[in-house]
Symmetry: C2
Subunit: 181 residues, 2 copies
């Protein structure tokens, strides 16, 4: 549970190569998680237009409801996030459906995380999309300085500077409907 | 957490008198609770028109999100209910507000419950409204027979047969805006 600004840069990357660079930097392994996320759209506004997101992350029988606000700057994926844990994710899904929200897609990924202070580097293997790296940090204040340092970290990991602003959800939907981009 | 049909009859009542009748019937006391409920309206349809309800019931730091569907028959308050527990009710409120839902009103009540199988009889003292009695039972199948028996119970408690279909929320809102009924 948190209210903060998430600074986040995402690039396509070869994981084997990034793992070697992380080792050279002395990055601390934080473990692996499997995420199963169900995304929703709203009945009264199109989240693709408003640049918001609403999802349930499955955690056994329970889950986490996350709201993501519109991105706050043009270069990164920085945005506001609100999260709350629920006891029964399927019951929450039923309520959202009754309220008129619609299921959009599942996003499933393997995420391996490393700490390189003040950042967390995530090696994501996304079902249907392939390998990505995300550099993330959280801030409750101004985030511009953090953004500059995140880009320096990308460089020192040998990663491209052209970051991807689109979410995995958006990338998956584009892939399914290449005509409609 | 549950999916079922809630059969529910509500009447205005003098609690002291109903308590005596319950004692004669050998009703089993189930205890007292204080409910603090925050009700919401939706941005895309007016729950007063669609006869739905969405509320957070506060339970310490946590809470219960409840969706109530439209009433299923003309005489009672029978309707579908979906509930899910959340870890942090204020965080859930923040997410609902971000999604465009609006806070409508708080409903606060003292509820004293008794079991008279298969029913639960609730003596409700509602802030701003006064004393009521609700007769409730849950069913996952046909509810007409249950409804008939609930009305018989009302009679044997010396209570009026003219039931109130409106929710405490509706009664409170009418009270605040008597011109707009």
């Amino acid at each position: 549970m948190r209210v903060m600004i998430e600074v986040e840069l995402k690039v396509r990357a070869d994981h084997a190569q990034v793992r070697r660079a992380l080792q050279r930097l002395g990055a601390q392994p934080l473990g692996v998680e499997w995420d199963e996320d169900l995304y929703f759209n709203a009945p009264h506004r199109d989240f693709r237009q408003s640049d918001e997101a609403l999802r349930i992350r499955v955690r056994g029988r329970g889950g986490i409801l996350t709201y993501k606000g519109p991105k706050l700057d043009p270069g990164s994926k920085t945005r506001e996030e609100l999260e709350v844990e629920v006891r029964d994710w399927q019951r929450l899904r039923d309520i959202l459906l009754k309220l008129g929200f619609g299921e959009v897609a599942w996003v499933r990924k393997r995420r391996e995380r490393f700490r390189v202070d003040p950042f967390v580097v995530a090696l994501d293997l996304v079902e249907g999309l392939g390998e990505f790296v995300e550099v993330e940090a959280e801030s409750d204040g101004p985030f511009e300085d953090l953004l500059t340092r995140a880009k320096e970290l990308l460089r020192s990991l040998g990663l491209p500077q052209e970051t991807i602003r689109r979410s995995y959800l958006e990338l998956l939907l584009e892939r399914e409907q290449p005509e409609n981009i």
